[in-house]
Amino acid sequence: MTGKLPGNHETLVQSLLSGSRRAAARMITLVENQSTYTNELMKLVYPHTGKSMVVGVTGAAGSGKSSLITHLIRKFREKGKRVGVVAVDPSSPFSGGAFLGDRIRFQAHALDEGVYIRSMSSRGYLGGLARSTSDVVRIMEAMGNDVVIVETLGAGQDEVDIIHVVQTCILVLTPNMGDDIQAMKAGIMEIADIVVLNKADLDGAVNCLRNLEATMHMAMTHKDCGWAVARVIPTVASAPKTEDLQGIDELIEAIRAHQTYLHESLVIDRIQAKRIEQELSLVFRDEVEKFIFKGLSGTGKKRQYIKGILEGRTDPYSVVEEVLSTFLRV
């Protein structure tokens, strides 16, 4: 380990809890890289999480998510809240590399100690959220951020897993998205708590607005009906002239309203539970797999199984059954 941070986990977590961005940054890296310490660290971090407001912002590339978020940050900062931002960008399927450009939009907060921004690559993980996002959010919570904003690329239905991490999910649409709109309707609109039509100054905005609101109710029926997305909020998040900005206050208000609803209706508890459930299954999946492959390693069994399946003597399902019965004595 480098000279850059205290070596042992306790001190690392201590400095995290005291709000050290260095500690947070390093810990996020460890989690991202699935380092061997991850579990140990998360054990220490976990107790200090779950108290922050977690807001998700999702939408297609170029829909202006970052620009919206920078305004949200500004508003939250005006209220004196500490803000953490996780901005997830897709990794290149070819090189595995990623171009993380969101920070350009957050430049206004470049020097603000009360804002912690972290860009993440999806590292090929489907669903717009990097595999480790939920852990990263926990770390940001533990760091003492009152608000954690999660920005993800809404590619379509596989976006759905954002709801397991965030409490309030904002879906950002733009006019003239053509067929993408359909995908949105069919897919992630179902997970949206707040729908925003950004770039509302573009031609066709009005029609688009009408269509969207028409489809809202349909979408709502799929959801917990206590909260209805009354309407679509038209916004203009990026304009060279401040006077041309639109809908920011309305958006903030909608977020507040939704949060109030969550807490009053205690739906928040269900969401927290869902989130934990999701985490559990993720951790299980990983750990059980690790556990089993560890057990298999050296025995040469794994190769035999694969060979067997190849030659049609058996199939994955039978194999898993067999393995589980031996390892877990079910």
Binding site: P240, K241, T242
Partner: protein
């Protein structure tokens, strides 16, 4: 054989040659049959390639529509192209000293170039400016600076080229005129030019200073003002060169350049000017890159396209409106810091291409530009290069000496064809203004630039010293390095602060108010700027006021508030 033995000792190991490789290189041939811009070239061009081409209408003599062969019948016999070398470094005083000396030498043309802080529209005392004032040119903050810059140089005897490209050009114009009027010159007699192409300048790193609508407004303000009040002044040098430096191809350079030109033209027409009122004063700045013939063809194509555009699209009647008047800057991005003296070679034939293309004004890069601001020696070498071309090579004897060449004429057609495609593409995204607003053009520049680098990485484009014959790395610049002292800049900053303390604020506010009104009512802002300048308004104050009216932050860097709110 004693000597033979000693010889063996001498040679073996020292410098051993692989004779097979040598033979390979002996039979070497060019890898690619493509031009720099990627056009596949035929092995041979013959009369068949020009078969269905009518000389009179398609090519035309030099001086005749469509001016493919040049805008003057007698080309360089009338006069040589202007050999411009830019002056302007450090404080206004430094710059004046150099300019004044050029004038004493009988110079009739002066160039002064703005530094980044001035182009950004910042006063010398702006927090962002302080460490950079005077680094790459000169900052003119107040009329005082312009007075110092002009000094006693008689403005009616000199053609002054003011190289300010961004929206700050409006301030420069105002400051120049203000000084001229205070010195009782009849401004309608002033000759010279101002670069004034804010739209393109957003792509040169001055986006905060050059939002699209503000750029078109102020750019057009200067153009309109000159057209009405300073008929002898060239009010814009539309900068295709900077676009090319982004990494785009020859035909894109022409297409996007003309596209931006159309933004201004349409604004000026909207303001009720007739095309022939102003078009004759429209000038361009063109690049000359390393592909010799392609650049010549590009220039010829641009001339023809401009002529047709002005005649057919804008209904120009005056032939002078249709003449593509241009200066060339040899391509800075074609030079490399490896084996720097090789750049003299590149510059030499890039400049030749410009001359064969019939250039009106030429600026040769200094061979040391990829390393530092041009040194005196570098400048001089660049100037000598032009002089050798002018006086020793005989290439100035004939207008368009390549005219008729099967290859050059075909390539000219090819570039025109490709450029027209690009312009159509722009049409399809809703015209140039839309292409800029939606950042379509940004994306174009980015992808093209990456492409260029990949071509070099992959060796599809060869650059001597970079991806071939790149054995040796040099540790020193052959003829030394240009450095700038920060002293003069510091003086200028304190002067500005002093000025702001001591000026008559009441008078200032009046003029700023008028500027605000004019801008608000969509009137031309230059006259008000001139008055404000005379009342000691600074560059940032002039531009900031208009910015606010247009709904932008007073300060492009968004850290200073207007003192007039």
């Amino acid at each position: 054989m004693s000597q033979g033995q000693s010889l063996k000792k001498d040679i073996d190991g020292t410098c051993d040659v692989n004779w097979d490789d040598y033979l390979k290189s002996y039979y070497e041939k060019p890898e690619s049959a493509k031009t720099w811009s990627g056009h596949e070239m035929k092995e041979l061009y013959t009369p068949d390639d020009l078969a269905n081409k009518d000389y009179k209408t398609e090519i035309g003599d030099a001086g005749d529509f469509p001016f493919t062969r040049g805008i003057h019948r007698n080309m360089f016999r009338g006069r040589y192209w202007t050999r411009r070398e830019v002056v302007g470094i450090g404080s206004p005083a430094d710059t004046h000293e150099r300019a004044a000396f050029c004038f004493e030498q009988g110079g009739t043309g002066l160039n002064t170039i703005a530094d980044v802080t001035y182009e950004m529209g910042l006063d010398a005392d702006h927090p962002w400016a302080q460490s950079e004032v005077g680094l790459t040119g000169v900052n003119v903050t107040s009329i005082k600076d312009m007075e110092t810059l002009v000094g006693d140089i008689p403005l009616d005897k000199v053609s002054w080229s003011l190289i300010t490209a961004s929206t700050a050009a409006a301030a420069t114009m105002a400051q120049y005129v203000a000084v001229a009027q205070q010195k009782n010159y009849d401004i309608s007699c002033l000759r010279g030019s101002i670069q004034n192409d804010p739209v393109h300048f957003r792509y040169c790193g001055f986006r905060p200073a050059c939002p699209l609508d503000l750029s078109i407004k102020l750019g057009a303000d200067v153009m309109e003002y000159c057209t009405r009040s300073m008929p002898k002044f060239y009010y814009t040098t539309l900068n295709m060169y900077d676009l090319r430096e982004q990494g785009i191809t020859a035909h894109q350079e022409v297409a996007y350049g003309l596209g931006i030109a159309m933004c201004y033209i349409e604004e000026l027409l909207r303001r009720g000017l007739h095309i022939d009122d102003f078009a004759p004063r429209f000038t361009f700045y063109v690049s000359c890159h390393v592909d010799f013939f392609e650049e010549i063809a590009k220039i010829r194509a641009a001339r023809r396209m401009w002529a047709k555009l002005l005649k057919e699209k804008y209904g120009a009647k005056n032939p002078r409106s249709m003449q593509f008047r241009f200066a060339v800057h040899t391509a800075g991005c074609s030079l490399v810091p490896q084996q720097p003296l090789n750049n003299i070679v590149r510059i030499a034939y890039e400049a030749l291409a410009a001359v064969l293309g019939g250039v009106q004004s030429l600026h040769c890069c200094s061979y040391d530009e990829p390393m530092c601001l041009p040194t005196e020696k570098g400048h001089l070498q660049a100037l000598r290069t032009q002089q050798i071309l002018a006086y020793e090579t005989g290439v100035t004897n004939v207008a368009d000496p390549l005219g008729g060449s099967y290859f050059v004429e075909s390539l000219t057609d090819k570039i025109e064809e490709e450029a027209l495609k690009c312009m159509k593409e722009v049409e399809e995204v809703g015209g140039m203004a839309e292409a800029i607003r939606t950042e379509w053009l940004d994306r174009k520049f980015e992808s093209e630039a990456v492409l260029r680098q990949k071509e070099v990485d992959a060796g599809d484009k060869l650059i001597v010293g970079v991806n071939i014959f790149n054995s040796d790395a040099e540790t020193k610049t052959p003829l030394g390095v240009q450095r700038i002292s920060e002293q003069s800049a510091l003086k200028q900053i304190s002067d500005v602060q002093e000025l702001k303390r001591t000026r008559n604020v009441a008078k200032l506010r009046e003029t700023i108010e008028r500027l605000r009104e004019d801008a608000a009512c969509g009137r031309n802002s230059i006259p008000a700027m001139i008055e404000a300048t005379k009342a000691m308004a600074t560059t940032a104050e002039l531009l900031g006021t208009v910015r606010q009216v247009m709904g932008y932050s007073y300060d492009p860097m968004e850290i200073i508030e207007s003192p007039f709110n």
